[in-house]
């Protein structure tokens, strides 16, 4: 067996960047350390460029299939590293004001990126698990980084306890699958299932259910979502954005590969289960979001709702026709498209939240009253982000939801698409309430009288540029999606060859 270690050069670069950040942190004076963000972001972008150049047309496996370098992996490598780079840049002003350890902050983010990239390219359960743990451990620290803050402490403890618990469940599920099939390789599991004509014995079903529950915790699918609002609220806001966008995208990369390459032959057994999970998640997330008074909690529940939509796509990955499983490429396309669209809109929203927090020192929804007067630009970006999340036309969210629900119908799940659309209407209600606050309500009196905070919000130029880029991206992908759809189609081709 010859192993082509040079295939992993992009990963080496990524790990190198993480250590470089840590090392430079030691060597430079304290006051320069906040500029480590530039190093981390540049390193992440470089690794994305390296992988694009180096693995553009690669379709190879390493270590007998532990690690798969294909178009799907390439797509998520680039997506996740660029995403992390953007979040690093978003953090810049926040870290300068609120975080005392910039070196650790940025290094851990890059380590998290390594874990995420591994999750997208793992072809075996334990590799996927270890990658997931690398991501989780980085996040345990990052969430709890504001030690002086009570909410931050609560978030840290909650996240580590429930995270460890869900990891244990996941690992237990993996051991069951190993017991039933004798392998943890995706290809081996798939062969085993195909040989048994998709029929699962009880150990396999239990193992699968445990894996689903474990992953359900990680992506905050209802009823495993209870940690999300508290952790989102207590974590430093850039980390909340990271949890909501990047770590979810990575988890869905893992799920997509696992469900297509390993579990597809047993579609009949898990489709209903995932569909039910999707329905509870989107109904729960969107209904509870209505009553939130804190923007981070609202966005937490809204992202629970979005996970529900994404799970609709997972449930629609195939359909049974005449006893045979027909893969549905549209669904896999749709999940990836929705992840990208969701990332743009959600990052724009969180960047606004950070800018408002840096100015007013609060995340309460009441602080958003009259935002259009404080800063028309911030209000515009927030409105566009929320409209895109609600799935309104002109913005990418409309297209990705349309795609997603069409894919669901294509797999015979029109009823779920209907529920998802209804949930989408509910979400429009609470998004519109924020828009109403920003544009129609006035700035609260008590604040406009106190002279300590100036009325208008000054946006640092870096944030201004990022907000603009996210805004343009949200609109551009909404009106010209063909290039992205082609990229996503190529990624789908790697995990669903027959479709």
């Amino acid at each position: 067996m010859s192993v082509n270690f040079s295939l992993l050069i992009p990963e080496y670069v990524l790990v190198g960047v993480a250590f470089a950040v840590l090392t430079v942190d030691f060597l430079i004076p304290r006051r320069y350390r906040i500029h480590l963000s530039w190093l981390a972001a540049a390193g992440l972008i470089v690794s994305a460029v390296v992988v694009l150049v180096y693995r553009w047309d690669t379709a190879e496996t390493l270590y007998d299939g532990l690690f798969i370098a294909d178009k799907f992996g390439l797509f998520f490598f680039v997506f996740l590293t660029v995403l992390t780079a953007v979040i690093v840049l978003i953090s810049h002003d926040y870290v300068r004001k609120h975080i005392r350890q910039p070196g650790e902050f940025y290094a851990l983010m890059v380590f998290a990126a390594v874990g995420m990239v591994g999750m997208a390219q793992a072809g075996e359960l334990l590799t996927a698990f270890v990658s997931l743990e690398l991501l989780s451990f980085s996040l345990y620290v990052l969430v709890a980084l504001r030690r002086e803050n009570a909410n931050g402490n609560e978030a840290g403890v909650k996240y580590i306890v429930l995270g460890a618990f869900s990891s244990a469940i996941l690992l237990y599920g993996i051991s069951m699958v190993w017991g039933a099939t004798g392998t943890t390789y995706y290809s081996g599991i798939s062969e085993h299932l195909a040989a048994n004509d998709g029929n699962l014995d009880s150990t396999m079903i239990l193992g699968f259910a445990l894996i689903l529950a474990g992953l359900g915790f990680k992506i905050a699918a209802a009823p495993f979502h209870m940690w999300a609002p508290d952790v989102y609220q207590g974590a430093p806001t850039p980390i909340t954005a990271f949890l909501a966008v990047a770590s979810k995208a990575a988890a869905f990369a893992l799920i997509l590969r696992l469900f297509t390459m390993a579990l597809m032959p047993a579609l009949e057994e898990w489709q209903v289960l995932v569909a039910v999970l999707a329905v509870t998640t989107m109904v729960m997330g969107n209904l509870v979001a209505i009553v939130q008074t804190n923007i981070k909690r609202m966005l937490a529940y809204s992202s629970v709702g979005q996970v529900g939509f994404l799970l609709v796509g997972i449930a629609a990955l195939g359909q049974i026709e005449g006893g045979a499983v027909i893969p549905n490429a549209l669904a896999s396309d749709a999940v990836m498209l929705h992840l990208v669209g969701y990332a743009f809109a959600n990052l724009a929203a969180f960047t606004t939240v950070i800018a408002v927090y840096n100015h007013l020192g609060t995340d309460e929804l009441s602080a958003y009253s009259g935002l259009a007067k404080r800063s028309p630009y911030l209000a515009l970006v927030m409105a566009v982000a929320l409209f895109s999340l609600a799935g309104l036309p002109f913005f990418v969210g409309f297209l990705t939801k349309f795609y997603l629900f069409t894919a669901a119908a294509e797999a015979g799940l029109l009823w779920i698409a209907g529920i998802a659309m209804a949930a989408s209407v509910v979400s429009l209600y609470y998004y519109l309430m924020v828009v109403k606050r920003m544009y129609i309500d006035d700035i609260p009196d008590s604040e406009s009288e106190s002279d300590s905070t100036p009325l208008t919000i000054q946006i640092p130029s870096l944030s201004w540029i990022l907000l603009g880029a996210l805004l343009v991206g949200t609109v551009l992908l909404g009106v010209y999606p063909q290039p992205l759809a082609d990229a996503v189609g190529a990624a789908t081709g790697a995990i669903l060859p027959g479709a």
Binding site: L330, D333, F387, L392, P393, F394, F398, L399, F402, Y403, F405, T406, A409, E410, L414, A417, G418, M421, A422, S424, V425, L428, Y429, L432, V435, K436, Y439, I440, P481, Q482, A485, G489
Partner: protein
Amino acid sequence: MNGFDDSVLSLLIVLPFAAALALILWPGDSEQLRPMKWFSAAVALASTALVVWILVRFDYTDGSQYQFISETDWLSQLGIGFDLGVDGIAVAMLALTAIAFPAAILVGWNVDARSKDYLILLNLLVGGVYGTFISLDLFFLFFFYEIAVLPMYLLIAFWGSSTRFPRFSRSKEYSAMKLVIFLVGGSVLIWVSIIAMFVEADLNSFSLIDLQRVGFDESFQHWVFPLLMVGFGLLGGLWPLHTWSPDGHVSAPTSVSMLHAGVLMKLGAFGIIRVGIQTMPEGAEAWAPLLLGMGAVNVIYGSIAAMSQTDLKYVIGYSSVSHMGYVFLGLATLHTLGVTGAVLQMFSHGVMTALMFTLAGAVYQSSHTRDIGILSGLAKVMPVGAFFFAVAGFASLGLPGFSGFVAELLVFLGLFQTYPWVGALAVIGAGITAVYMLRLLAKVYFGETDYRWESLPDLKLNEKLVAGTLALILLVVGLAPFYLIDVIREGVRHIPAVTG
């Protein structure tokens, strides 16, 4: 066809959206209001010029169903194309929009609070309306339909007005949210149907031309058509889901009421024809009796409700519900006369209602009340306003010589060919309309002039201009409806479900 004909429809969509973008990027907002208003008026007139071009070039003897077709691939994976084209029905609706859009901009001249944002939203709304009327791809039809609906929220909630009744009140925020939730809820039904059609046809295409040729299964048509009928009907004010509409009309600022009752409600009826009846003839036949029943309730219930209102704008709001009932009745006949009448009624009601809201807005702006109990004898102080209100009222109750008469006559003729009893009921509805319209006119304009209103100003120049144009159109279409009827019938005769 020459090059301009191929791109005129794309231009018609791009123009308002480009104007909105230009306004967003327009530097400064408070001191440069006048140039922005002139700019918007120029855009509105330019789009009207494009529609006039389409009207002139439209060939109603052509025989092919859609004209001015332009097709551009947009997303190959789902077979979505940016396909545009018009038939006679769409052309009539374009004409209506081309009248209402500049009128709304002109009437909105008086808006001074944040008028930049106001103009941006108006342009977006109109872009959505044009887009819905000319899209031949279901994705884009739905896309523009949503765009047309959503700016309403901010337009009503910010620039609108709340209403206080003796025992309760309707805040503008409430009305705005009610409107959006109702309409977006209705669009869920439309969305489900669109996707169901895509999957059922299995052509990997959302193109309406393709889907209209499919000939769906009868059972499929039977469950999808009602979804479309209710989903689109909701925006048309179909009873019993009409309650958002009077609230929305009343709370909206004048120019938005004009566009909303004048044009937006027509999107609903248009959708029933374009997506519902044209793709599912058998479904339409099966469900026509229900549409007929609901339409009849619309007519009777709407006019009775209008009779008991004390607020000037609520009267007009409920009269819209009642008048849209004729549209549904006409569609439900599935008879050439009835459907042609329905489309003509859409046009005529759009113009008439825009005129009425202009006048009601003028009264409210100077008197700060819309209470019919207090307002009286305004004809003495605002004779021009009274004259035009009388014109609108006569058109509304179907006096011969105005467009409303021709439209309702065609609907009645269609009804007597198919469901004579319902026809009789509809005529009674027209009678009730006469009662409340004449009573309103007598009280508000021709009663004793109250001392409070003695110094009330008459219409402003921009309002006179708008009212004069709209009234003239009502009269011209009433006296010489032939061209419009021919154009509409060109569209109607291609619908397989429509006979006679």
